[in-house]
Symmetry: C2
Subunit: 248 residues, 2 copies
């Protein structure tokens, strides 16, 4: 049995930005959908975990894009579980275009979460899941623990109905969108995101006030922090490179 | 040749709200995707129109839901062109669940738009499109012209990167999301949207300040207006009914 599996997607019009390219948040969405499809195929999907009063919680993710797929492009996302530790499990992704060229890679880290105790649960207790870890590293650096950000306020607003997922928390993808929205259209005309890295720290709830602070640590290397009151909701790093599109 | 065609969708986790139900904006998205698939199948899709420096512009839409499909539900959207006038064309939708029961209906009105002159174009000049109009009415009232709203300010914020589509305007679906976000989680626990009706008036651009005003005209009948400065971007009507879910 092969431990790597590939899922196909088409970049729908609602996935693209003003430059016809998939947004980072829609790519994040595709990756989470891929993870869910593959976890279901392996027998460890959310539906099965929910029956055990457990869930998967995404704690870290890194996405690196060489090229952003455009509207109507077909992409293939290959995914596999690299390792299953006691505290978390690492799932990698490789994104290819229709020609088979690698256009991006991603790495995600997940915690096995007990919804009754509201705590992480030892993955040793999830029988059979270790058989799906193939030990194969991804093609990019794993997401690391990001440090505190002492930056300028970029944005502030309240969490709304459409931000909330079935767990009553802000949807993981929304944070990617909020951080992507810290850059202007003219920035996206000149640059594209090479690496987007995120640490999820505390969940945000309906009505919470979102405060986004950011700082430039080096040319083209930005750090962000999303806070509610004194708590950190998430931290992120965004590395830009010049826009590779030739027609701009 | 049948002039009605059906397209299948599955309600993905990112389409649902905190009650596991598809949001109105994700249903709007599915309807626009259906319209696009069917227009492509008929030979009058956006890609072909774009080659002629033309486009479809959605001017009005009404969606009525008897029941909101839940996460992972498979739905079928049947669509057909009712009529093609000189100024606009009407496309209807009927949404069924896996059992074949009708769970919702929608009606959309589109203008054939000349991107060079930035004006509507006579549909008489689009040869062959009239063959696709079957004259069959939809099962709900057509969207009408909504009147001015003299209401309270519900929300205000700036248009951001992720709101902008390939035409450089705010995405049509985003307005549905913004209006849906005017209701609280506790409102959605008690009520659900029976009818969502929207008129698109003026496009909004990156950096525009969005002001949302709303008023209750009758019990469970709300009107909204999204404005930028003195211009109306869109008007909407939202009719609520008690939440039909039995488990709440």
């Amino acid at each position: 049995m092969s431990l790597k599996k590939t899922y196909s997607f088409q970049i729908q019009p609602q996935f693209v930005d003003f430059q016809f390219r998939a947004t980072m948040s829609s790519l994040g969405d595709i990756l989470l959908t891929t993870a869910q499809f593959n976890a279901d195929d392996n027998g460890f999907g959310l539906r099965r975990l929910n029956e055990m009063d457990c869930s998967w919680v995404l704690t870290r993710m890194a996405i690196e894009m060489n090229r952003f797929p455009e509207q109507y492009e077909n992409i293939e996302v290959e995914t596999w579980v690299e390792e299953v530790g006691r505290a978390n499990t690492t799932r990698n992704f490789c994104i290819r275009d229709a020609k088979g060229e690698i256009i991006g890679n991603a790495c995600s880290v997940w915690v096995f979460f007990d919804m009754k105790t509201r705590r992480a649960k030892d993955l040793q207790t999830l029988e059979g899941i270790h058989d799906f870890a193939n030990g194969e590293e991804g093609l990019i650096d794993k997401p690391i623990k990001l440090g505190a950000v002492d930056g300028d306020e970029y944005d502030g607003f309240k969490v709304k109905y459409s931000d909330i997922d079935i767990n009553g928390h802000v949807n993981s993808i929304r944070y990617i969108q909020w951080i992507s929205d810290c850059f202007s259209l003219s920035c996206y005309r000149k640059y594209q995101v090479k690496r987007f890295e995120i640490n999820y720290v505390h969940e945000m709830l309906y009505g919470d006030f979102v405060e986004i602070v950011g700082m430039k640590v080096e040319d083209n290397d930005f750090r962000f922090e999303i806070k509610k009151d004194d708590k950190i909701a998430c931290r992120a790093r965004v590395v830009l490179i010049p826009n590779t599109s030739t027609d701009l």
